[in-house]
Amino acid sequence: MQAAELVEGVLAGNRRALARAISHVEADSPTGRELQRALYPRTGRAQTIGITGSAGAGKSTLVGAVTRDERRRGRTVGIVAVDPSSPFSHGAILGDRIRMQDLTSDPGVFLRSMASRGNLGGLSETATGVVDVMDAAGYDVVIIETVGAGQDEVEVATAAQTTVLVTNPGAGDEIQSMKAGLMEVAQVMVVNKADLAGADTAVTQLRALLAIADLRAWRPPILKAVAKTGEGVPELVDAIDEHHAYLRSHEHGDRERRELARKQIVALARAALHRQALETAEHSGALAALVDEVAGRRRDPRSAAEILLGAVKREWGEAALAEPTPENAAR
């Protein structure tokens, strides 16, 4: 299927076209970029939710429970479930469909598993692109779920409008050691498996941490839920909805939307720059020579990096990488 055909299919709600379009975006192929260009103006309708938290927190089960609740509210749901690729083989086993068995035959749900593929800083961008395609396809809610709380995963989840941080009772140490940054990106916090002992302690700990975090007008609610039974899930979805309404109406909402846009542009540009610079470096042969020198202990890695950057700059022409000055910025 060609790009135009795929765009038409996605907009018409054709699931096969949607699936194929996602593959193109995921692969960052020329067709994928063309699709994103064509589909982006048709996005912005969906409510996007990022769900993150450490492995074993019960995120998949929670995504299932949230989806069921959204379906009861009459909304269609697209899900992007991201799992890590093996650092050795680059392969992956993606098992999220198992946790959402009952949802996979619901025509109002579309679940796509995604491997992180160890992209050069591009995971969050690729995943955001996939979310956009689902948005354009007309899903009312698009959930993106990531495993683990590494930099990449958190970034993926925060690319959504509302980020939900999932923890568990007894995860006290984990909460204590949580980077303030993670606290600040979450708009909703939920202690899952709240039927286990220690749920209230976890809530107290989160509250204490929030008290010292640098927050803006939105105060993240801290909720308890048992994803397995669905307990507390309607309240969670209510809280997500409240944040969504806040974004739509409040003056800060506009600021946050602009910030999200800025983050996306910068991240994509950074990834592209990174990739292109390395391609140039490898292509010019400068890298290979420097590798020999550093490996032979004839030159230190830092100097080598500077030389490499110099070589890239020369290839590209100094102007392209110069600090923006009023003159060249205007050009």
Partner: protein
């Protein structure tokens, strides 16, 4: 690099039987060969399998069955795939499959039928050789 798309494979067990040793071994082996394996595990209906193949846009579908219900369930999977327009995937299967059934299964569109004692190397090579290339 970003635009090298790994082969995506769906591994599923149709029917009720829970013997998933083989399916797990194959799923792990394909992952270790650099593929992305969508593992749906046991108790999958033909409809669930076809829907997963569609949504995940896999190039390959591998089914494992040890209960002997293959001649009943495989045609239903094919039917469900066809009704969704998924007509360009490589199909293979494994399990306890009597020799005399292999012809029938191949006629259904399965390119590979792997019985007990098959090495994962054989399956990896098979998938690499036959997986349809996607742009």
């Amino acid at each position: 690099m970003a635009n090298q798309r790994p082969i995506r494979v769906l591994i599923a067990k149709p029917g009720l039987d829970g013997h998933d040793r083989g399916a797990k071994v194959v799923a792990r082996a394909l992952r270790d060969a650099g593929m992305e394996v969508i593992y749906t595990g046991i108790r999958q209906t033909p409809g669930m399998i076809a829907e997963a193949a569609l949504q995940e846009d896999v190039q390959v579908v591998g089914l494992s069955i040890l209960s002997g219900a293959h001649l009943e369930l495989f045609p239903r999977v094919i039917e469900e795939l066809k009704s969704r327009g998924v007509d360009d995937v490589l199909l293979f299967c494994g399990g306890i499959i009597p020799h005399e059934d292999i012809g029938t299964i191949e006629t259904l569109g399965f390119k590979g039928v792997f019985g007990p004692g098959t090495t994962t190397t054989d399956i990896i090579e098979f998938v690499r050789a036959h997986a349809p290339v996607r742009a």
